[in-house]
């Protein structure tokens, strides 16, 4: 098992150490000073997550207003270290019941130290699953008053069994009055489109999130309209697959509860779910993607001090659906002085900190076309021909009940000894990942 960390530091944006925890003595205690002076003060902060200074590697991540820094002196596994940070943050969040930021850390020093003792030993990551840790580290986080939720106190009866047992992720004897399953399919679209409208790069990363409130030890089976599953089924039933669209999933990863032998033999996703919320699977799709928006930009530079920007955005999803929180960011040169806008819908303004014209549309109906046109005035600068690199236009949006990949849940079967009835809820949402159009 690879080493992930010799020391872990939590720093605020000013560089003060909030928490430090040394796991090995191969790095000095003053290493955090090196981080502060050589990384936080430098311009490269945020450009490269791994830096090497004085024989030590610093792996850092910013989460809200906290830097989590991992220091290693050996050739550690960087991916493992970052995964550890991500998981640890998820763990802390589930303990604090909400945000993870400087204040939350200050309020939960003792808890964090206790957790840090548990989740890593001598630099090797240990069990980071909140469900299990919560059984044994019962100290309650000081959550914000709004999100606090009554927690049932359980007895730490069979600790070893929990960790080593066959179904380590689920306790026995759960009882719910109403058996419910929530299934969310969340996709984010990454796009890079050329000026002329040809797609240069496009993919969708999706994940299926699940929230179970089921009694007993239920066995679940999920059917999607993906290629492998459908073909298998068609084979079994000895009839040709339906003419409907099938989706080819790449890079599928499952939660540990999914029975992989059954997936390999029967190509079905069957599992005993953990209690509460978890991520069932992740996937990626590169073919046959339905882009929700088309963008037609035209940016003209009229002389040295004027620019004309014209952006046309067209929604191509179903007319009855609508997108929420659409933001179009059109980059402009650094020496922009003023911009006059004309928009068919929403609001636009010049944001100097981002060097962008930001156009926001709160609700964008399907099958419509909106335009924003702006006259930008620039101030004359010293350097005559400071070439402007024309960065791409960026877009943010959320489209509920739409999947860019076309993935659909075909069925979700729940089987339990007692044979109770369950209610299943399925939601779809498509978000923008890095949705960029060159101009």
């Amino acid at each position: 098992m690879p080493v992930a960390a010799s020391a872990v530091y939590f720093l605020n944006l000013r560089g003060d150490v909030l928490i430090n925890r040394m796991y090995r003595d191969d790095v000095g205690g003053n290493m955090v000073d090196a981080f502060r002076t050589n990384i936080m003060q430098s311009k490269e902060l945020g450009t490269c997550p791994v830096r090497q200074i004085g024989g030590c590697s610093f792996l850092y991540m910013r989460i809200s207003n906290v830097y989590i820094v991992i220091v290693v002196s050996s050739n550690a596994n960087a991916a493992c270290a970052f995964k550890f940070v991500v998981e640890a943050v998820a763990l802390f969040k589930s303990y604090f019941g909400g945000a993870f930021d400087e204040d939350a850390i200050r309020n939960n020093f003792v808890l964090i130290y206790e957790l840090l003792d548990e989740i890593m030993d001598f630099g090797y990551p240990q069990n980071l699953s909140p469900e299990i840790l919560k059984l044994y580290i019962t100290q309650e986080g000081v959550g914000s008053p709004f999100s606090s939720k009554p927690q049932d106190i359980r007895t730490p009866a069979n600790a070893t069994l929990q960790v080593t047992g066959a179904v380590g992720w689920r306790r026995e004897g759960l009882v719910y009055k109403k058996n419910e399953v929530f299934l969310d399919i969340v996709e984010s679209v990454n796009l890079l489109m050329s000026q002329k409208g040809t797609t240069l790069q496009c993919d969708v990363t999706g994940k299926i999130l699940m929230k179970c409130f089921l009694s007993g030890m239920p066995d679940l089976k999920l059917g999607l309209n993906d290629k492998i599953g459908l073909e298998k089924e068609a084979e079994a039933k000895a009839r040709p697959s339906r003419s409907g669209k099938t989706i080819e999933l790449d890079d599928v990863t499952f939660h540990q509860c999914v029975n992989l032998t059954r997936f390999n033999t029967e190509k079905t996703v069957s599992f005993v779910p953990p209690d509460g919320e978890f991520e069932l699977m992740k996937y990626r799709i590169t073919d046959g993607i339905n882009l929700p928006f088309r963008v037609l930009p035209s940016i003209k530079e009229l002389g040295r001090t004027r620019m004309e920007v014209n952006v046309k955005v067209k929604s191509v999803f179903g007319a009855r659906m609508f997108a929420l929180g659409v933001v179009v960011k059109v980059p402009v040169p650094k020496h922009t002085a003023k911009a006059n806008f004309q928009v068919t819908s929403g609001r636009a303004k010049y944001n100097a900190a981002l060097d962008c014209l930001v156009w926001k549309v709160r609700k964008f109906p399907g099958q419509t076309e909106l335009t924003m046109s702006a006259e930008v005035e620039l101030i004359s600068t010293m350097e005559e021909k400071k070439s402007w690199t024309r960065p791409p236009i960026q877009m943010e949006f959320q489209v509920p009940m739409f999947t860019a990949s076309g993935l659909r849940v075909r069925f979700l079967k729940v089987w339990e000894k007692s044979g109770y009835n369950t209610v299943e809820w399925v939601r779809y949402i498509t978000k923008a990942g890095s949705y960029e159009i060159r101009c």
Binding site: L13, H335, A337, K338, A352, E377, I379, T381, K386
Partner: protein
């Protein structure tokens, strides 16, 4: 700064200061910049107040490190505003945001000029400050006269004139043409009469810069400067505000003394006396006090005064007074003062005669060597190194050796090197030197470079009476428990060569010596192993009568090494095992190493290379000049055993024993000793390829063929052999190995190389030209195992050359080398060469060769870099024949123009690329030296791209003879096969008449 009125600015600054982190700050600044851009864009609504406020904000943002590349127009516009507050912003921001090359500055020149010549003092000050800060050529061209006027005007207040002086200084630095010496020197004299010390200080800064570039022009300022110094030191008429801790304006004092150091020695006795009075006063009046600031000020003055004393070559008394004062400093506990004392004392060493007085402080200096502060330790090490001479060398070197064991690792290598150099330079006797170096190796083995022990070996080899002593010492050191590898190397080498001299002593029988050395064998590195193998075979050879047991042991070692992984060790083992069974003939091969030719100590050379600081460098150089003869300086009368007379000891290569007369008679002694003191390179040709000792350590190989089979070749006048000038005696059956022609051609471009080689003798040549003079050394090396007899060397000089050389011994012993130094002086230009007539007899076979010596014209040339304008001016000045000659040359070796340029450059005729617009032409210049002086020659070659075999050559110089000879010389070089068997179509003999050795040779043909 009128910040109070600008709320927006103070709000912005407090916003920025309140930012929690860098990111917030950036956001805030970006927002502000966007705001400023918007405001500047619609100019109409902008009031002067707002403009001022935003420009201040821009400056603040710029100072925070953000890019501000707009708004310059607004800034520049503020300069012409009528109100002070706005003008001030304009000037300040302009001088911060714009640099001297900026176009915007052109816009302001007029406004600035108006402010400078205007009546308003504050505006004048603002303008002068901005001009001084920005500088720039354009400012200096258009504003310098006005600034000068301000400086000398009587009506201005001192404040303005002060600024004007500093502004002028800055403009002068950027563009020295703004001040013309003739007109300005008188002005400076008048300015130095100024009573106001502030103005005087500023003027003095200006004077420092002026005098630094042209001390002669400001000669008349010198008495004034002395007068100012007098005034300051007497504390006459000095306002309270210009005294600093009771010292009258230390800044002005320092600057004045700095100015004085730029003038050569003061001639006028009155001025000189006055100056020395002042210096005396400073030297007496300075002491170490409690107050740090006072100390700093007074010491700054003092050290400048000491520098001035050194510069003026003051009398001995004053020097020793300085040294005494510095000695006091060295004894102080305060590290800063101590450092300064040591540093200045090192500098004092530059001046002669202070050595004795510095020596009085030796104890203090040595104790500084143990100071906790490393920079003080370094300074004292430098000082000790510099002050060392014969009288105190023993103490100092011993002190350094003692210190070596406790010294920092950072300083150890330097320390070891310096100790080794001192030991070598000032050794009272060689035994002591060997002893010191062995100690050094023992104490700091890791830091002793190879050069150091090579040097020991050289000395021991060259001094017979040292050998037994050194071997005994080496043996003693090997007995110690932990021996450094370098020690193993030295001891292995010395014992291999000389252990037989100890054979009588207890514990030194060959077998015991072998065992002692062999104990170390497994632990050493491969190169050392190879060295030790050589040592074994030598010990074995020396064991008389042959010791079978030892032979068996050594054989076993060799056998084991026969399959050693390193090729060198393996080869030695294989060769030695065979050689060791050769019996008595081994003695010849394994004979003692021959003496080394004397050469400059590699250590000193290294130390010179290592010197970084210029002052240190000059100190070392000076030392070398003083003690040129290294060990030879040692007192011959001292009790150093039976050393040979010092003149024979090292400076001259000792004559090999069989030679009937000294190899180097009195005549070449002068150049020889020149080699010894490091002005020349090592003379031995073998030294050209790496380290001599390294070469000698390699196994020997036989290269000369046995005498019994003289090569039965027929006639030397082989028609196929391109021999134009070098001829053989008709009886001569010995042919050169290689082509004489090729050697000569190579030497015509190089300074050293082989002139002639046959199976018995090799003649090498090495020449060093300095303008019209050359030192040439001929190396006659006998390659054979039989002495060469009846050596006769004659040089038939060309009429234009004066050549002197010393007598040559008429026998060269086997495997020995004789050097013949030749001094050459060029009297006039000629392309003829001198001829060496050399003959010898090898076992009754007489050999005679005539060789051209590479005393070609191009050796005397020195490429002259000329600018286009110079070239054209000279070219035009020389009208036509006979000083400017032109000829169309045909039959040129076809080559591209670039190759021809390279050829010219290799002949030291410096091609000036790009001077001629036509790419097919070459323009070059060179300087020809003769006894009459230097002559600049200009050469122009026009080639025809369609026919590369012809070109037009034009040569111009002041001297018709030089012109002609240079032209012919170039012709010879470019014409196809200039050294062809058929005489080259040069008209020279016909024109110049048949004189000189060429004629002699022509006769012989």
């Amino acid at each position: 700064m009128a910040l109070s009125g600008m709320r927006g600015l103070s709000v912005f600054i407090s916003d920025v200061r309140n930012c929690q982190n860098k990111e917030q700050e950036r956001v805030r600044v970006d927002k502000e910049l966007a705001n400023i851009r918007t405001r500047f864009k619609n100019q109409r609504g902008l009031t002067p107040y707002e403009k001022k406020k935003y420009v201040w904000k821009m400056l603040y943002i710029y100072m925070l490190g953000y890019d501000v590349d707009f708004g310059h127009m607004e800034t520049v516009a503020l300069i012409s505003a009528p109100k002070y507050a706005e003008k001030q912003v304009g000037y300040i921001v302009t001088s911060c945001l714009l640099n001297e090359n900026h176009d915007f500055l052109r816009l302001v020149i007029n406004t600035v000029r108006n402010d400078i010549i205007g009546r308003n003092e504050t505006f004048q000050c603002l303008a002068l400050t901005m001009v001084g800060n920005v500088g720039g050529r354009e400012f200096s061209e258009s504003l310098a006269p006005d600034v000068q006027k301000l400086l000398v005007s009587n009506t201005c207040r001192p404040l303005v004139r002060k600024k004007a002086a500093l502004c002028l200084l800055r403009l002068y630095r950027k563009n020295p043409d703004v001040v013309n010496v003739e007109g300005w020197s008188q002005q400076m004299v008048q300015l130095l009469d100024e009573r106001d010390l502030g103005v005087l200080t500023a003027v003095m800064s200006l004077l420092v810069a002026l005098v630094a570039s042209n001390p002669d022009g400001y000669w008349s300022c010198l008495p004034k400067c002395v007068h100012i110094l007098e005034r300051l030191t007497r504390n006459q008429d000095i306002l309270q505000e210009y005294t600093y801790y009771g010292i009258p304006s230390p800044w002005l004092q320092v600057k004045t003394m700095r100015v004085l150091q730029y003038f050569p020695v003061v001639e006028d006795p009155n001025v000189r006396r006055g100056l020395f009075d002042v210096l005396q006063r400073i030297l007496v009046g300075t002491d170490v006090v409690k107050n740090v600031n006072k100390n700093n000020a007074s010491h700054a003055v003092l050290f400048e005064a000491i520098a001035l004393v050194m510069h003026l070559d003051a009398d001995k008394e004053m020097m020793s007074q300085c040294v005494a004062l510095l000695g006091k400093f060295v004894a102080v506990r305060e590290p800063n003062i101590r450092y300064l004392g040591l540093e200045n004392m090192t500098r004092m060493l530059l001046v002669a005669d202070v050595n004795e007085s510095i020596k009085k402080h030796q104890a203090h200096i040595i104790s500084s060597l143990k100071d906790p502060d490393i920079s003080i330790r370094r300074r004292s090490l430098d000082l000790l190194y510099g002050m060392c001479d014969i009288s105190n060398a023993k103490d100092i070197v011993e002190e350094l050796l003692q210190y070596l064991t406790t010294a920092d690792f950072g300083i150890r290598e330097e320390l070891a090197l310096k100790a080794a150099i001192l030991a070598e330079k000032f050794a009272p006797n060689l035994a002591w030197y060997v002893e010191v170096i062995l100690q050094l190796i023992e104490k700091a083995g890791d830091f002793v470079s190879d050069d150091i022990w090579y040097r020991v070996v050289q000395f021991v080899t060259n001094n017979d009476d040292l050998q037994a002593f050194a071997a005994a010492k080496a043996r003693d050191y090997l007995d110690k428990p932990a021996v450094h590898e370098t020690m193993v190397k030295v001891a292995g080498y010395l014992l291999g060569e000389y252990s037989h001299l100890l054979a009588r002593r207890p514990g030194c029988s060959p077998k015991e010596v072998f065992h002692i050395i062999h104990d170390k064998f497994p632990t050493v590195t491969t190169p050392t192993k190879a060295l030790l193998l050589s040592a074994y075979v030598k010990i074995l050879m020396h064991s008389q009568p042959p010791d079978q047991e030892l032979q068996a042991q050594v054989d076993e070692v060799f056998k084991r090494c026969e399959s050693f992984i390193d090729a060198e060790v393996q080869q030695r083992a294989v060769e030695y095992i065979i050689l060791s069974h050769k019996g008595p003939s081994m003695v010849d091969i394994m004979a003692e190493m021959p003496k080394f030719p004397e050469r400059q100590s590699a250590l000193i050379k290294r130390a010179e290379d290592a010197e970084g600081e210029p002052t240190e460098m000059s100190a070392t150089k000076l030392r070398q000049r003083q003690n040129s003869m290294a060990l030879v300086v040692a007192d011959p009368g001292s009790a150093n055993g039976g050393l040979p007379p010092p003149s024979e000891q090292l400076a001259l290569p000792e004559p090999p024993p069989p030679a009937p007369e000294p190899a180097a008679p009195a005549a070449p002694a002068a150049p020889q000793s020149a080699y010894a003191n490091g002005t020349n390179k090592a003379p031995a040709p073998a030294s050209t390829n790496g380290d001599l000792l390294g070469d000698l350590l390699a196994p020997l190989a036989l290269e000369a063929p046995p005498i019994s089979t003289p090569s039965p070749l027929t006639q030397s006048a082989d028609p196929g052999e391109p021999l134009a000038l070098a001829l053989y005696d008709q009886q001569n059956q010995i042919k050169p190995i290689g082509s004489i022609e090729d050697w000569f051609r190579a030497l015509s471009l190089k300074d050293s190389g082989v002139l002639y080689e046959d199976p018995y003798i090799q003649i090498g040549i090495k020449s060093e030209w300095r303008e019209a003079q050359a030192k040439m050394v001929l190396f006659l090396g006998n390659k054979h195992t039989v002495p060469l007899v009846n050596i006769r060397v004659l040089i038939l000089p060309a009429p234009h050359l004066k050549m002197q050389f010393s007598r040559v011994p008429d026998t060269i012993p086997p495997r020995a080398q004789v050097q013949v130094p030749v001094e050459v002086t060029c009297l006039s230009a000629s392309r003829e060469t001198a001829v060496l007539d050399f003959s010898y007899t090898i076992s009754t076979l007489p050999v005679n060769v005539k060789l051209r010596l590479p005393t070609l014209m191009n050796k005397i040339f020195q490429a002259a870099p000329v600018s286009a304008s110079d070239f054209v001016a000279h070219w035009r000045a020389i009208a036509g024949p006979p000083t400017k000659l032109q000829e169309v040359v045909r039959g040129v070796r076809p080559m591209p123009v670039s190759d021809m340029g390279d050829l010219f450059n290799s002949l030291h005729i410096g091609v000036a690329p790009g001077l001629d617009p036509n790419v097919n032409n070459i323009v070059a210049a060179t300087t020809f030296f003769s006894q009459a002086g230097a002559t600049l020659c200009l050469v122009r070659v026009e080639t025809d791209p369609s026919d590369r075999t012809q070109m037009r050559l034009t040569v111009a110089s002041q001297d018709p003879n030089v012109t002609y000879e240079v032209k012919e010389f170039i012709k010879e070089q470019v014409i196809d096969i200039p050294f062809a068997r058929t005489p080259a179509p040069t008209p020279s003999p016909a024109v110049m008449g048949l004189t000189g050795p060429a004629a002699v040779l022509a006769g012989l043909i």
